[in-house]
Symmetry: D2
Subunit: 365 residues, 4 copies
């Protein structure tokens, strides 16, 4: 059930409805929009009588939601969610197409800093790099763990890049939460419901990757798990699905972008690196992702891909990334969107985004 407040409902009236919901043993989720506030209800609301709220002051309408997801739905919030990172002008879901770039895994301080400088200069505002790597084999490189997180902190400090890095279990999430600006949940964990709930208790935005064979409904329900715990800053990410096709590592399903945008207010970005698994296809599919209307891209870039400890084949050379940024900037322009410009001296951008993020996440809610 969903309660839409009047345009000029007072904060007190919103609070009154929320208290009423809590008194019934349910959980209110108050989502402010530009025009009016909507309040989602989660919990066992089966026998709830809409009449309870109809006549409360400030309530305009009570809506029964038929879809299995509620908080992720456009029924709850018509406008796009824009996730902001205070102290910076970076967003997900705003007019600017967000660009996250960096190596698959943090391998060393040198590798991370070299990559960071290049992608920051090219205009990326977010840096990716795994400290915890979910690998198919127990014998493969599993990431530098906390040492990797320290390197990421230095990357942010030096180049003013916002950090996106993966958590693979509750323990790593505890650490990632303290250090990252965006917590990544990987495709293999899209239905690790325990981890989703833990991410829902974090105050940091979450980047949720679509599972390898997840339907749109399952994908949105995974986001609902996070939101139902109170973290409303979720970015969805298409990264290719598994099909019979063997010319790419996965089959990038770009139609999911407009499909999600119809159903949900959450931003959705695209990962053409995992989506294709081949360096020569990353740039054309990045252009296509921006053209289809994606809110951002996440791209693997490595200074020396042939020696990468993971995913080398799909990592761009830094100069290829420079060109990619030029191309997507033009495509974005056709859709009336922007891609950030190159930055001559990213080091000068050094603010203190860590503290800012905390404030920002709060602001975004």
């Amino acid at each position: 059930m969903l309660i839409v407040m009047k345009a000029h409902a007072s904060e007190e009236q919103v609070r009154g409805v929320c208290q009423k919901i809590e008194s019934l043993g349910l959980r209110p989720h108050s989502i402010p929009g530009s025009q009016r506030t909507a309040i989602g209800i989660t919990g066992n609301e089966m026998e709830l009588d809409p009449g309870i709220f109809d006549e409360m002051p400030g309530v305009q309408e009570v809506i029964r939601v038929s879809k299995p997801y509620k908080l992720v739905s456009r029924d709850l919030k018509e406008e796009n969610t824009v996730i902001r990172f205070p102290g910076t002008d970076a967003t997900f879901g705003g007019n600017e197409v967000a660009v996250i770039a960096g190596p698959c895994a943090i391998e060393s301080r040198e590798q991370a800093l070299a990559t960071a400088e290049r992608v920051a200069k090219a205009g990326a505002k977010f840096f990716r790099g795994g400290a915890y790597k979910p690998r198919t084999s127990p014998y493969s490189f599993q990431g530098l763990a906390e040492d990797g997180l320290k390197i990421l902190a230095e990357v942010r400090d030096r180049y003013g890049l916002l950090i996106v890095t993966e958590a693979i279990d509750n323990e790593s999430l505890d650490l990632v939460e303290k250090c990252a600006d965006v917590i990544q949940i990987g495709a293999r964990n899209m239905q690790n419901f325990s981890l989703l709930k833990r991410a829902g208790k974090a105050r940091t935005p979450v980047l949720l990757k679509r599972g390898m064979s997840a339907t749109v409904e399952e994908f949105l329900m995974a986001a609902e798990y996070i939101m139902s715990e109170g973290n409303y800053n979720v970015v969805l990410c298409e990264r290719g699905v598994r099909t019979f096709a063997d010319h790419t590592r996965n089959t990038l399903d770009l139609s999911v972008v407009p499909a999600v945008q119809r159903l949900s207010h959450l931003p959705i970005i695209v990962d053409p690196s995992h989506g294709t698994g081949k360096r020569n296809k990353v740039t054309p599919l990045s252009r296509a992702a921006v053209a289809v209307g994606a809110d951002g891209l996440i791209i693997e870039v490595h200074p020396d891909p042939d020696r990468a400890l993971s995913d080398g084949k799909q990592s761009l050379y830094p100069e290829q990334f420079d060109e990619l940024m030029v191309e997507i900037r033009q495509i974005a322009g056709v859709l009336g969107r922007t891609v950030a410009n190159p930055v001559a001296n990213p080091g000068a951008r050094r603010t203190s985004p860590v503290a800012a993020t905390a404030a920002g996440s709060a602001a975004a809610r």
Copy 2:
């Protein structure tokens, strides 16, 4: 095996090599390029000794081809194949992104002419419309057959549009060949090898749609069937593949465009109408298809989609098609390509493309 002639090899030298091949019971396929001519050999060439050709006059190099496809391969022809339609400036594989538009099926003269006028004005140079419809149910509308072909002839005559229409068996191909500028082979017939061979004997270009679960190799081998019979004007078409995903009718696999372009010199276009099955996804996926580098689009447009006898849900309203053309024109510009401009009075374009096509197909070879 593949014989590359010297840059200045004479026609007589090319003929000499071809005669030698024929004398060995094999079939030569002489493919002129901008720099030099290459001669593909098909037939049972297993025990062929390359030395036979090495010393012939005009021969530069003899190459063993390891891939199962030969004539479709970039090994045979490095430059893109450009298919021309003399008497017009329309092409597939040239700098202009080709646009084919029209209804799924020809339902009546009025429906066809109304649609044709609208798409011609918006800039489309090719008109699609099925006279023979492969339908899942024997009880569904199967097309107007020869009456449909007559209507298509009138469309061409009135609006100067080039006609693309489907053949579903040898009998319909006999008739379609006489009337159409491009013979379409549908996805369900991609491995109807008998029909492919028959299409290979036609002198009209062939639009070959990818089968619902065809790998790239199978797709290219299907084109090879057509080419091996002597028809070298094949346009490939991605139309979505079958996967578990249920938010679209099929999963449009845009990565196949750069994959095919690496392996083959043939043009490849995209069908976002069948690829998504939903009207609201046709425009964003059309933008994406042009951005990924497709050589053209085939789009379903219907003046009254809600009453269409087939595929109404995925057909654009004419005004949506107008907007789509504006958007893809801008995207094409970013890639240094063009999309034809609107035409105020397409009726005035009326040349006689029928005769021209016949000549053109010949010229294209």
Copy 3:
């Protein structure tokens, strides 16, 4: 629409209803059951008023059919269809699990006769072997064509085996129809509707293989195409579908057997040779197919698989086939079904099944 006649309706009453249907421009399909006759109606029956038939003599009930398929449906015919081959005791859909065995392609008289002798001795009543082969590459062995059909005729004559062989287009179907006891339509042609209609005009039973990515509804609709033209003797065949899984050539979908048996009265058999593509998996999956309730098996057997011109990797050695027959005979027993016993001297079985078949097909209708 479906008209169920009374248990003791006279032939004249049935004829009366059929004539009424024809007078309305529609086509009656009279399907006798053990208890009563049902009459299916095909054609554009949209505006048909059930009241027309309600009061006709002998009519018990008029049923609107909601499913897109009619003639294949259990709504039309509750009992299983049993296809008989007079002059023999072979059936599809009866209590005996039918076994079809033989090489992928007829390569030579010696190869065919040697295989036939072995499979006949082991108990197979049907012999498979392609004279027309649909091959992915135009340069692969395409079958012996009419010479292959002559060899098949000799196989039948010598060993009393019923012949199952594939038709790939209308031309080959004309020839196969004259020679074979069962016309096979391959997976790649499952939606070659023109070929299905042509097969529907034949008087010979048809073995219809499921397409590589066909849903059950599409599979049954393909059978409906054949039946709607008057050929009611259709055997369905599961041969594996295309998925991401790479440990077998295709993924054999055994659940389709009970799924089809719920919806349709037609027999359904399984092809574990194509379904797995690997010799070592043919026997276990054959056991599983019989255990799941399949009405038969089609198995590739080759006297010298390593030199087979096609599908050698999935062909059994004759001695492996002997063992397979022993195992499935026991499994069939658990389900109260039988598998034919070994035959010491299959040559003695030599009746004249050709003539018998023609009569038999008629009888089966």
Copy 4:
């Protein structure tokens, strides 16, 4: 790398090799076989020189393993792994086909005990029932948690059934480990590597379900994660994969059973309840699973499926389960295997399997 000891190598010699491996910073996995012991090495063994071990006393052969999995491989251990539960005669991987039965979720003490009595009487030796349920929606019934575990303990105590129940994160695994005889890891967690490692540290056997789109290699690598931590008692379970097919909830891939059995010594069982999602298909597919050679079945049974809180549509009525046991007992017989007989008074079976299991697991290693 893999070190095969001589047939009569002493325990001391085995210990010597293990100590050598540890001294190199690697981990030895000593796997006794009926003839000889093999020692697997895990860790970063890239630069390891086989010569180090060649001349050590008791070493017969040093083998480089090319496959990415080692401990799961038949290269390491040729004989089948048989997992025993001391104090009982139940096994996985032995001659008896193991049967696990019970409700999807533990809903109440009454429901659990009623089901347990029925399945125990029919011959099942293992009881399934989820206390922690991974559900697509955060608003669906998530299981009774610890209360469910208590009910399961009572089930074991009353009916002598061995308990199989799912752990969904490290926290629930801590609890499940104490109570269950087999820890289940669900399909959605097949690549939750953190959970796999934790399960590898448990001393209780693990039932690992195949992920919805996992290849055989990924499936075996997931088992390798568990084994690499020292828990060698892993049972694999096929539960259907995700494909385009819509007649069943998932597509049950029975060919994976012989595929896994070729590559690995681990037992593999089949879940036809999730594999089909439809009650009427569970029995035929159970027969097929036993016929293909599976080492066991896991079946959902519910006393009142229409009121089940989860998976009611695929749960058998107890009487259907009785019949299923009869049918698979006969099929197993054909393969020379057994299925346990009905038990008149399962309560009398009450030993103390808890304590026994702990000993048993140790014995199994």
